[in-house]
C-alpha cells in the first residue's frame, strides 16, 4: 500500500505535560500496531488521528480522505438492543431505515451475533458487547478502522474471536490501526509495528524484524519485560 497518512511534527500538550512530542510518521502498511509501555501516548495518538483530540502543534496529512470508525477498549452500548446499537451508527451516516436494518443484521451476522440481535446490548457479556461494537464499526464499512486495546478487558476466548473479526475486516480491505498489550496478538495482526515511548516515536519496523531484533533499546527493554 502507498502512504495513506503522513503525520507531521504532531504534538499534544495538556496541563504543561507533553503527551505527544513532535511525532512524525508515514503510515503505509495496511495493518499497523502501535506498541509501547503504559502512558507512552498510544491511545492519545490514535485519538488525534481519529479526530477526537486536536493537536497543539503539527498536522495530519491524509493522502486521500478516508472514512473512519473507532472501537474503544470499553464498548459503549446504548440502552437498547444489540441490533439498534448497530443501526444507530448507520443512521448517523444517513441511510434508509430498511437499508440500515439490513446492513446492521449483516454486520451482526459477520461477528456471529445474529441470534442475539434483539437482546438488550448492556446485558451481553463483555466479549459479546465488544463484538457488537465491532459490528457497529464494520457496518459503516470504514476505510480505516482504529482500535484502542480492543481485547484488554476480555478473556482469551473472546480475545481470539475479536482478533478473528479484526483480521476479517482487514481482509475486506480496511486499513487497521490498533494498540494492544498482547504481543502475541500484535505479532499475528500487524504488518508493521510503531513503537512509541514517552510520547515520541522510537521506531517503525516491519513486524518480523521488530520481534526478532528491535532497533532501539527502549523497544528491547519493552519486549524483554513483556515476554520473559
Amino acid at each position: 500500500m502507498s502512504i495513506w497518512l503522513t503525520i507531521d511534527n504532531l504534538g499534544l500538550t495538556e496541563g504543561g505535560t507533553r503527551i505527544i512530542d513532535a511525532v512524525s510518521l508515514s503510515l503505509s502498511a495496511q495493518r499497523t500496531l502501535v506498541l509501547g509501555p503504559n502512558g507512552a501516548g498510544k491511545s492519545t495518538l490514535l485519538r488525534l488521528i481519529h479526530g477526537l483530540l486536536h493537536p497543539s502543534s503539527g498536522a495530519l496529512r491524509w493522502s486521500q480522505p478516508l472514512s473512519q470508525a473507532m472501537v474503544f477498549q470499553r464498548p459503549v452500548m446504548l440502552r437498547t438492543t444489540a441490533l439498534a446499537n448497530v443501526v444507530y451508527g448507520l443512521k448517523l451516516k444517513g441511510c434508509t431505515a430498511h437499508e440500515c436494518d439490513r446492513r446492521a443484521r449483516q454486520a451482526l451476522a459477520h461477528v456471529g451475533l445474529e441470534t442475539l440481535a434483539k437482546r438488550p446490548a448492556r446485558l451481553l457479556s463483555g466479549g459479546e458487547q465488544q463484538r457488537v461494537a465491532l459490528a457497529r464499526a464494520w457496518a459503516l464499512e470504514p476505510e480505516l478502522l482504529i482500535l484502542d486495546e480492543p481485547t484488554a478487558s476480555l478473556d482469551p476466548a473472546s480475545s481470539r474471536e475479536v482478533e478473528r473479526i479484526i483480521n476479517e475486516i482487514a481482509a475486506g480491505g480496511a486499513r487497521i490501526l490498533m494498540t494492544t498489550h498482547n504481543l502475541g496478538q500484535a505479532r499475528r495482526v500487524a504488518e508493521e509495528i510503531v513503537f512509541i515511548d514517552r510520547g515520541r516515536i522510537a521506531e517503525q519496523t516491519p513486524v518480523a524484524e521488530f520481534f526478532k531484533l528491535p532497533r532501539t533499546p527502549a523497544a528491547q527493554d519493552f519486549l524483554q519485560e513483556e515476554m520473559p
Binding site: A69, R79, T80
Partner: protein, 234 residues
Amino acid sequence: MHEFNEPLITAWQLVAAADERLAGIVLLSLRVSLAATLIACIVGMPIGALLAVGRFPGRRVLIVLFNGLMGLPPVVVGLLIYLMLSRAGPLGAFGLLFSPEAMIIAQAVLVTPIVAALTRQVIADEWSEYREQLRSLGASRTRAAATLLWDGRFSLSTAALAGFGRAIAEVGAVMIVGGNIDGVTRVMTTTIALETSKGDLPLALALGFILIAVVLAINAVAYALRGWAERHWG
C-alpha cells in the same frame, strides 16, 4: 389525645367514603401538578441535556443559574406569575388569573429549573461515558443530547419525580395565582392551610394523608420502574 384521635377518625371516614368534595380537591391537585410537571419535563429536560452536552457562551452561567433557581421560593414565583397574568400585566388579556391554568403555569415555572438541573447532572454523567463513542460515530451535540435523553430515560424519571414532588407539595404559588376558590382552584395544600387556620382539622388531616399517600405511591411506582428497567436494559 382525644383531640387528636377524633379528627383522625373523621379524616379516615372522609377518605373511606370517597367524599365528593375531597375527591374534587385531590383530582384538581393531581391534574395541576401532573400537567405542570409534564410541561417542566418537555421544557427542562432538553435544556438540561444541552447544558450538559453543549458548548456555547454563557453555559456555565446558565448552569449556576438553573442550580440556583432550584431553590426558588414558591411565593415569589406566585407573585411574579400573578403580576404577569393580572389584568394590567403583559398576559392579562388571556384572563387566566385565578384559574387552574394559572396554577399550572406557576408550578411549571417553579419546577422547570429543578427538572433541568437534575437532568443536566444525569446527562453529564452519561456524556462522560458516551462522549468519545458518539463523537466517533459523527453525532452532533444536539443529536448526542437527544440520544442521551432517550438512553437516560429511566434515570431521568428521578428528575421528573423530584419536580412532581415539589409541585404537589407547594402551597405559596398556587395560593397566589389560584386564589384558593372553593370548587375551582382549591387544591390539597391550599385546603390544608385554610382548614387548619379555620380549625377544621378532619378535612385538613384527610388531605394530609392523601398527599403523603400520593407522593409515596408515585415514588414506589418510579422505583419499581427503574428496577425493572435496570434488569431489562442494564
